[in-house]
């Protein structure tokens, strides 16, 4: 399967190189004349998961980004320039994301790249951004290590994100379990095939145990599993107050459904991987009670900015926005804001403007960009009742 893909990619790449040479030459002349007429538009790369397993996140992010760009273009663009998004689908595949990032930066002539939405794919594109000195920003890559900073702790100069990281989500959910739900004993059912779940689990355990709780049992599954009855039957025989379920909605929906079918009524806690309409389809409304997850934003927020966004988005797309829509929207506004402040379409100037952001006001909360290229912003814990968002608690960074 991989071999075939690589072969196809090679062909695409070779053909790309041939046509790319011509295009590249044109681009150089275009840049030469940038001072006068070509400055009418600014190209921004969009490299997202539009098909395959993680498509739900990618599509939602892109809907948000497009809405932001449309609004900006309708209002006259950035310093008189129209935004021209160059959109590609990385098929939820890290290798594909990398080659698309290369293509966007070397052939399409973008000034910055947005996405991918998930950490695995986003991290794969980091070397490309560093090599080409073109900034990349993800609104939702929450992995702890290796995103905006290297393993040694150095900041990746051209890499930014608009969301908190997994350790903050793990810590928040552990505190929520211990303080708000008064839980003493927790069971963890972890997706063993993602870094995302590993980061969440690690931080949940350390915080929960520090708060006096005990982890009664730790079970694991891998992505694409469908049958969780065996592990659920096992934990059913144990005494616990909450289930912590770090993972993505595809499996989380099935775990919750099967747990409720087996008569397990304990609260289920998760993180932003739960935020997809597919969760409700898979689990069904009756199963989604006493389910809490940390998220970037809640539609219950009374802030007029949030409420106006929800109204406009619903009118445009025919459905209420989720957190990925909101993050995508903020991402679109954020890059436009940085280009405007940079006063130039030079990637270097845009990078400095991104890093120097102070008090940016977005739908998912106001933030300033930290020195490590992580935003300093608050987190929301959402509670579901019959599959619908019912409660939301805001937690600030300590």
């Amino acid at each position: 399967m991989k071999k075939g893909l690589i072969f196809l990619l090679t062909i695409v790449f070779v053909v790309g190189l041939m046509t790319g040479c011509g295009g590249g030459a044109k681009n150089t002349t275009g840049d030469g004349g940038a001072a006068d007429s070509a400055a009418k538009e600014v190209k921004i790369g969009i490299n997202y998961e539009l098909t395959s397993g993680l498509a739900s996140y990618g599509e939602a992010s892109v809907d948000g980004i497009m809405m932001a760009f449309d609004e900006i273009n309708a209002a006259g663009g950035i310093n008189g320039m129209q935004i021209k998004p160059v959109k590609f689908d990385n098929k939820s595949d890290a290798a594909e994301a990398t080659s698309l990032a290369t293509r966007l930066m070397t052939q399409e002539g973008v000034v910055a790249c947005l996405g991918p939405a998930t950490s695995g794919c986003y991290m794969a594109t980091i070397p490309v951004a560093m090599g080409n000195k073109i900034p990349i920003i993800s609104a939702s890559a929450t992995a702890d290590e290796g995103v905006t900073t290297t393993a040694k702790g150095d900041v990746n100069e051209y890499v930014f994100r608009l969301c908190f990281n997994d350790s903050f989500q793990g810590v928040t959910m552990a505190n929520f379990a211990a303080n708000n739900l008064k839980a003493k004993k927790a069971v963890i059912i972890q997706d063993r095939s993602s870094d995302y779940a590993a980061g969440l689990t690690k931080n949940f355990i350390s915080t929960f145990e520090a708060a006096g709780g005990t982890i009664v049992d730790k079970e694991a599954y891998v992505a694409k599993d469908k049958d969780f009855n065996a592990i659920l039957t096992k934990i059913k025989g144990e005494k616990f107050d909450v289930i912590f379920l770090p993972g993505y909605y595809q499996e989380a929906g099935l775990v919750i459904k099967q747990a409720r079918d087996l008569g397990i009524t304990a609260p289920v806690l998760g993180a932003d991987g739960f935020d997809s309409p597919v969760l409700l389809e898979l689990a069904g409304a009756t199963a989604l009670n006493d389910v809490y997850f940390s998220n970037h934003y809640s539609s219950l927020d009374k802030d007029p900015l949030v409420q106006n966004f929800i109204k406009a988005f619903t009118e445009k797309n025919g459905k209420a926005p989720n957190a990925f829509n909101a993050l995508g929207y903020d991402l679109g506004k954020y890059i436009a804001d940085a280009i405007k402040r940079a006063g130039s379409t030079e990637p270097e100037a845009i990078k400095d403007a991104l890093a120097g952001t102070e008090n940016f006001v977005g739908v998912t909360g106001s933030f300033s960009m930290g020195a490590d290229h992580n935003p300093i912003k608050s987190i929301v814990v959402i509670g579901l009742k019959d599959g619908v968002q019912d409660t939301s608690v805001k937690v600030d960074v300590k």
């Binding site: 065996a230 096992k234 069904g284």
Partner: protein, 292 residues
């Protein structure tokens, strides 16, 4: 004890699915000595056909199941005619590689048409749950087990009481001799593919209803597990496939339930290696001498 019973119930429902898929592997192997790796994908397509018939044609469970089985049977025959028949006299490795090719073709063609996103299945069965002591049984599990048993009885009937079944048994013993006796070998092989694929299609619908989630790559893992089940039961043996499927299902559940859920798949595959070393013919397999 109650937990053990519950785990066995879980294992039987999962194992029934494996058994249904394993039947197709074992029948095809029995007749043309081919491990049909595309079989898991026929199961996946069955799940999608079931999804389409229930969602768009608004059929109930049983009509949808029958339509899916017929459609998958036709698909199985087409695959055999297009991909395997022209290679009837080629070496076995050629056909095996073709089978892997067909498998990838089915997966990615489906992904092209339906997208890679996970879909939830429409509700056709009631969500009723039965409590026997503290053992929980739901409607879907009952349907899975009952449908599997009914289909297996039907298969036993076809193989042992009908002319087609007799022809299938004859071809599996000696293809040339069967031909000399006036048995149409090509159409018998077609029937075998049709029956095996029909069963895989039924398994697809049952899984869709039970787990409520289908995607174009869902056939890979169950396909492999069913293959192990077929090997365990003795590849080529129909009762062996049933026993193998149920055993693998129960084994998986018990490993998750009493051991470590992370080692579940590893345990199953390690089991395959052990069988191949200790008893390569499987539980009910016949010890046949390879013709040199």
């Amino acid at each position: 004890m109650e937990q053990f019973l519950q785990q066995v119930v879980n294992g039987i429902s999962l194992g029934s699915i494996y058994a249904l898929i394993a039947l197709g592997y074992t029948m095809v192997y029995g007749i043309i000595k081919l491990i049909n790796f595309a079989h898991g994908d026929v199961y996946m397509i069955g799940a999608y056909i079931g999804f389409a018939t229930i969602t768009y044609a608004k059929l109930e469970f049983f009509p949808a199941l029958i339509v899916t089985m017929i459609a998958c049977a036709i698909l199985g025959m087409v695959i055999e005619r297009v991909a395997y028949k022209p290679l009837r006299n080629s070496s076995r490795i050629t056909v095996l590689i073709t089978a892997i090719g067909v498998s990838l073709l089915l997966e990615y063609v489906m992904m092209f048409f339906v997208g890679a996103e996970v879909r939830s299945y429409p509700k056709v069965l009631s969500e009723q749950v039965f409590h026997l002591g503290s053992v929980v049984l739901n409607m879907q599990q009952i349907y899975i087990v009952v449908t599997t048993i009914a289909l297996m009885i039907l298969l036993q009937f076809i193989v042992h009481k009908t002319k087609t079944g007799k022809a299938m048994r004859a071809v599996s013993i000696d293809q040339d001799a069967a031909q000399l006796m006036g048995i149409k070998v090509d159409s018998t092989i077609s029937y075998t593919f049709a029956i095996g694929s029909g069963f895989a299609g039924a398994a697809g619908v049952l899984v869709g209803i039970y787990y409520n989630s289908i995607d174009p790559l869902m056939g890979i893992m169950p396909g492999l597990k069913a293959f192990i089940a077929a090997v365990f039961g003795g590849i080529g043996s129909i009762p062996g496939a049933m026993i193998g499927g149920l055993s693998i299902g129960i084994m998986e559940t018990l490993v998750s339930g009493y051991g470590n859920s992370l080692y579940r798949d590893a345990a199953v595959f390690a089991f395959l290696i052990i069988i191949l070393i200790l008893k390569p013919t499987g539980l009910l397999g016949k010890n046949t001498r390879e013709k040199v």
